[in-house]
Amino acid sequence: MKEFEPKIIAFCCQYCAYAAADLAGSMRLKYAPNIRIVLVPCTGRIDVIHILRAVENGADGVLVAGCLEGGCHFVEGNFKAKNRVRYVKNLLGRIGIEEERVEMFNLSSAEGPRFAEIANEMTERIKTLGPSPLRRENSTEENI
């Protein structure tokens, strides 16, 4: 049986996480290939619906990566995102989707290695959880 390879959507702020991912690339750091990066101008731009759509369309995990607290280019965008991520986690938990599939991280543009670490950490976490319950709909218990 092939090992499960999760699909993880990462909403990355252009001022920090996206730059950090870039840096990780130019530093030739190796990190899990499961991360699909979506560039956003600020995590404050991420809405509840964006995260839900990702889950609905089959993402096994969603991570939102914004600036360090206090370091947001738009002052408080990452706080808004933090509140929304917490809200979504609660909603998903209540309909039986593991809250751990969605997470918020903070890092600076200089933290290329940290980005690689986050990517690996999230991938490991989702591997432990298994595929999204939404992707399991047609499979039987045995081959999960």
């Binding site: 509840v48 408080e76 706080f79 808004k80 509140n83 917490r86 809200y87 979504v88």
Partner: protein, 218 residues
């Protein structure tokens, strides 16, 4: 929507008695829809006040909502010129304006009545009491908390006759309406549910939604 109607003119004049320069403020939302405090009613009331008190200054302004600070701010550079603000908003609006301008008397021109709908032109009826725990899905889309005079949750009292409420012959018994609706929708089983005791909300109410706040959640 919120339904209101204008206070008796004599009461408005009583409350305006100490003042000569008034800013009359209308509201562009519910009060416009229920024809109680929109641009048109502002004009009419201003005209009436002026015709009765020749030496009075009544200036008019209507903002989209009086319950939101961003719209109330539009009054900021004007209020200094007036002794009092006469608001044609619901109670929320009057208080929001009063809160924004702490040094200014803010007076209500309307009596806020209820949350309701327009039945036909000129007639509004109450349909929601904002009790905080909606059960319309079990009552055929008819609210017994609001539309039964006794807010009964477990069936009608013995006072209905001819399908009408004991309180007034021109009000239907909400429970008979519920019965017909549930029958039509094939949901009569909801009538046999276990008796419920209502958890009444504690007032004043306050709601906090963390996902919308801009400050860091505690």
């Amino acid at each position: 929507m919120i339904i209101a109607d204008q206070k008796p003119l004599s009461e408005i004049q009583d409350m305006l008695a100490p003042y000569r320069k008034i800013l009359l403020v209308g509201c562009g939302t519910c009060m416009t829809f229920c024809s109680a405090g929109g641009r048109e009613e502002v004009a009419t009331l201003a005209g009436t006040l002026l015709s009765e008190n020749k030496d009075m200054t009544v200036d008019k302004m209507t903002i989209p909502q009086q319950c939101a600070v961003k719209f109330i701010d539009r009054l900021a550079d004007k209020v200094g010129n007036y002794e009092a603000i006469l608001s044609m908003a619901c109670g929320n609006g009057v208080q929001a304006v009063a809160n924004r301008f702490p040094e200014k008397p803010v007076l209500p021109a309307l009596n806020t009545q209820f949350i309701g709908v327009e039945k036909e032109p000129g007639i509004w009826t109450e349909s929601c009491m904002a009790c905080g725990d909606c059960i319309l899905w079990r009552t055929g889309g008819i609210c017994p908390i609001t539309r039964c005079a006794k807010s009964l949750l477990n069936g009608p009292c013995g006072g209905a006759s001819g399908g009408k409420c004991e309180v007034s012959k021109d009000r239907p018994c909400a429970w008979q309406e519920i019965y017909h609706a549930l029958k039509r929708l094939n949901m009569l089983h909801y009538l046999k549910e276990k008796p419920r005791v209502k958890d009444w909300p504690i007032h004043p109410g306050r709601i906090v939604r963390e996902d919308l706040r801009e400050v860091e959640a505690a």
